[in-house]
């Protein structure tokens, strides 16, 4: 895909999916310091398998835990080394490059305060910033922005840009939101399709047959009369283009001198219960698409890249072990990516809990050792200059005990 490097037109604005904030709320204090920080949050819906994205290749229990689904530094598709302990999934060469350039920090074994395993509730906690799920209609990113002093450039009427019904929860709230609706939404994901087929197979053979025929499922006849039906190859290129388009367009907006400074996007498809495809397949494709999105942001940000932080977060992790269908079930701790030229990067931050059975959370999940809120607070405080008491009361209520992670940002 060719990315053109100009300010986005209205048409491009309509092309991507996501949300940015209107002008009125800009990080005034940071600007007073002569900086013009940009912050973009990418929510991965469905729960990213953190161990498949960033693997503890030197942990003695790693291979035993994942067997032939473990990514390693050897083999046909060797992982990309990060330090002496961790390695990155080979599907993410751009992130590896940014990491080496000091523009990426990886925080492992992170989790929100949520300890159950429901996607909706987990996403609510992740995006609301509250300690538990419940009826909430504002997100932490919006409340962080609302707490900042409006910048002198604020103009009446800009709030009119707050349109569109699809803003993710993380950006909903009192601060005016500029969101746009994609003209071309991504096609139905392979995952949604296979879940629906599974439901039909159990409940409605007629609908099952009709859908299978219509989507042109390939029937692979097996010897002995055993037929196994495999879905068509997933639209990996489509997903890739969609991720890159959305992220690139958001970045073009943030890069503009008169544009918004904070935004959020959501990408889904990460709920990999079966045939996870860590090395080649579904997860590898998704990680590759995410990698492309990060590269598109870097390119589109141009000069503003060195003032940029992108946080890639997900509601929870997945089981440490592989399940009975070559996938992973809902778990607890996972990995968080911070990417951008403003970071003091090139490091993996982890209080590594270990992978021995007695070290796993409830005997099954990677144990959380870093509160995700500490990471986000660190960025909000040192990048956007949201003050600590606001962070502990308004942005992440009742979180005074969770201290902002220091040293994430490059010293200006």
């Amino acid at each position: 895909m060719i990315m053109s490097l100009h300010a986005p037109s209205r048409r491009e604005l309509l092309l991507a999916s996501g949300t940015l904030f209107a002008w009125a709320y800009l990080p005034k204090i940071a600007r007073a310091e002569g900086r013009d920080p940009r912050f973009l949050v990418i929510v991965l819906r469905g729960a990213l398998d953190g161990l498949a994205a960033v693997a503890p290749v030197s942990d003695p229990d790693w291979i035993a835990l994942r067997g032939d689904k473990a990514i390693t530094l050897e083999g046909k598709t060797p992982a990309l080394p990060l330090d002496s302990f961790f390695a990155l999934n080979a599907a993410m060469p751009n992130l590896s490059r940014m990491y080496k350039a000091g523009a990426a920090t990886i925080v492992h074994a992170t989790a929100t305060p949520y300890r159950e395993r429901s996607h909706f509730d987990g996403q609510d906690v992740l995006e609301s910033g509250l300690g538990r799920p419940g009826a909430i209609d504002t997100g932490w990113l919006n409340r962080a922005l609302a707490a900042l002093q409006p910048d002198g450039r604020a103009r009446g009427g800009r709030e009119a840009f707050a349109v569109g019904p699809i803003a993710p929860l993380v950006v909903r709230g009192p601060a005016p939101v500029l969101s746009w609706t994609p003209r071309r939404l991504p096609a139905t994901s392979e995952d949604t399709l296979s879940r629906l087929l599974d439901l039909y197979r159990h409940t409605d053979p007629v609908l099952s047959r009709a859908l299978e025929e219509r989507i042109g499922l390939v029937t692979i006849a097996r010897a002995g009369g055993m037929d196994e039906q495999q879905p068509r190859a997933p639209g990996a290129n489509q997903v890739r283009a969609y991720f890159a388009d959305s992220a690139g367009t958001a970045a073009k907006f943030l890069a503009r001198s008169d544009g918004p400074r904070v935004g959020a996007l959501a990408f889904d498809g990460w709920d990999t219960h079966a045939d996870e495809g860590v090395i080649a397949g579904r997860l590898a494709n998704l990680l590759g698409a995410l990698d492309g999105a990060l590269a598109a942001i870097e390119t589109s940000m141009q000069e503003a890249w060195r003032e940029t932080v992108v946080a890639v977060v997900t509601e929870f992790g997945r089981t440490a072990r592989i399940n009975g269908t070559d996938g992973t079930d809902h778990g607890t701790a996972t990995v968080t990516f911070l990417v951008g030229g403003a970071l003091n990067g090139g490091r993996v931050v982890a209080d590594w809990p270990g992978l021995k059975p007695n070290r796993l959370h409830e005997g099954r999940d990677l144990k959380p050792t870093t509160d995700l809120r500490a990471v986000l607070k660190g960025v909000l405080r040192d990048h956007l200059r949201v003050d600590e008491s606001t962070l502990a009361s308004k942005v992440f209520p009742d979180s005074a005990a969770v201290k902002p992670m220091p040293g994430l940002l490059r010293q200006a």
């Binding site: 999916s17 819906r45 019904p165 699809i166 939404l185 399709l193 629906l196 889904d268």
Partner: protein
């Protein structure tokens, strides 16, 4: 199968209405049959009156005037080009003398705009209905007496046709609806009767043109007695002669009354006719009225339309006892359509049939928006969804209308998934999926469906699965 009150309320909404809106199941749970009947008893039930919508005659004339202006503009443009042909390019003098005509304002042409306004009003009526039983009856009868916007001249008046011929009679008598439909300009144009001329009429003797059997045949085959029933080819021909002269006033004839129905005695076959065993002396237009009145009372008509009604609402192969009861009621009440609708929803068979019918595309699209309590801001994507799923509004491919059986609609299932996915992506962030699930499917959903939705990886995915769940597709 005995249903608990909530399941019965949910079934009432899905089977006889446009699907639950938030709170509807609880509202109906005491007495779903009573609620369905109460909707029919409400003043103005089935009507759609808006000062913004044009009558058929005015719509037709507005469209005709637009087309006249277009033709005039094209003629002027041709003349201008010819006048300028001899002058070298850039000859300012010539350009000034005959400037190009003002371009038509952007946007849809007038007939299309009228069609879109009507479709929007229809969609909003379905979205806003409490249950939607009366609207569903309108859709059913409108499809029974269908016209097509794709036939020249029908596009600007197909919406008015539905309001004037179908809605006005949807809870009245079948015979009145039959007469209103067959004498409406939209039907007369759609099935060519406007041009049909009695061979021995004044016009027939002067012109080479003559009889067109199209409308007469479809009235017998589709609208009343039913195919392969009690009529013969001779009946078709005789009936076609009866209704010669039922036509529409043309623009050249009378620009002030163009587009209105007229009985033109100069086109009418001046002869007595026998239709399905009855003799009709020639009394001008009265002859046709009398044939339609007899057809409306005929037992074959009763059986035909009652079978179709039961098939549409209840099952592809409806229980014979249900069809019997409806037919008897039809004959006992001289085709009282409100009584038929009441009989339908008070018949045990109408509730006992398993939910095996696939919702028609329009029902399903409207039901999806209702489930999440969202009114689409623009009509375009809703129309587009109808088109993609094979049920373009007021554009059936044949006079038989869109099929009432499930099988033909199975083909569009993959497209339904795409539309479900798009809608879920647009509204999924804004809704509480658990609530939407309980409010629309809760009492009807299988454990598998419940689990699939609960385990979805995102609200959007959960919502797409909800729209595609067998219990939401079928009724």
């Amino acid at each position: 199968m005995a249903l608990d009150p909530k399941a019965e309320a949910a079934l009432a909404l899905h089977r006889f209405g446009f699907g639950p809106r938030p709170g509807a199941i609880a509202g109906l749970a005491g007495d779903p049959r009573g609620a369905l009947i109460a909707e029919l008893d409400r003043a103005g039930a089935g009507r759609l009156d808006s000062p913004d919508l044009l009558s058929s005659a005015i719509a037709a004339r507005t469209a005709l005037q637009f087309q006249q202006a277009q033709r005039a503009a094209r003629r002027a443009e041709r003349a201008r080009r010819e006048a300028n042909a001899g002058n070298p390019p850039g000859d300012m003098k010539a350009e000034e003398q005959t400037p190009p005509p003002a371009a038509r304002p952007p946007g849809p042409a007038v007939p299309q705009q009228i069609y879109l306004d009507e479709a929007k009003a229809r969609i909003h009526a379905a979205l806003g209905a409490e249950i939607g039983f009366a609207e569903r009856l309108v859709w059913f009868w409108s499809n029974h007496f269908c016209v097509s916007a794709d036939k020249g001249g029908v596009r600007p008046i197909c919406g008015a046709y539905e309001r004037e011929a179908i809605r006005r009679n949807v809870l009245g008598r079948f015979g009145d609806m039959l007469l209103a439909a067959e004498s409406h300009p939209a039907m007369l144009i759609y099935l060519d009767n406007a041009r049909s001329i009695g061979p021995d009429s004044f016009a027939g003797l002067r012109q080479k043109r003559g009889l067109n059997e199209n409308l007469a045949r479809e009235i017998l085959e589709l609208h009343t007695l039913g195919v392969r029933s009690v009529y013969t080819q001779e009946d078709v021909t005789n009936f076609a002669n009866v209704i010669t002269g039922w036509t529409v006033i043309g623009f050249r004839q009378d620009p002030m009354r163009a587009g209105e129905f007229v009985f033109n005695p100069n086109m009418h076959q001046p002869a007595a006719q026998t239709v399905v065993g009855k003799h009709y002396p020639d009394k001008g237009m009265e002859q046709g009225r009398a044939v339609l009145a007899a057809l409306a009372r005929h037992p074959a008509t009763a059986r035909h339309v009652c079978t179709k009604l039961a098939r549409h609402f209840v099952a592809d192969e409806p229980a014979p006892a249900l069809v019997e009861r409806l037919t008897k009621r039809f004959l006992d009440t001289q085709g009282d359509l409100k009584e038929m609708a009441k009989t339908l929803v008070t018949s045990p068979e109408a509730w006992m049939a398993p939910s095996a019918k696939l919702k028609r595309p329009g029902e399903w699209i409207i039901g999806s928006f209702r489930a999440v309590g969202v009114t689409p801001p623009e009509i375009g994507p809703v129309m587009q969804a109808h088109n993609l799923l094979g049920e373009p509004i007021w554009r059936p491919s044949a006079p038989k209308g869109f099929p009432d059986e499930s099988a033909p609609w199975l083909d569009g299932l993959a497209q339904r998934l795409d539309i479900a996915n798009q809608l879920a992506r647009r509204v999924g962030e804004q809704v509480n999926v658990r609530e939407v699930f309980e409010e629309t499917l809760g009492p009807l959903a299988s454990a598998d469906t419940r689990q699939a939705i609960a385990r979805a990886e995102s609200r959007q995915q959960a919502l797409a699965l909800l729209f595609m769940a067998p219990e939401f597709q079928r009724r």
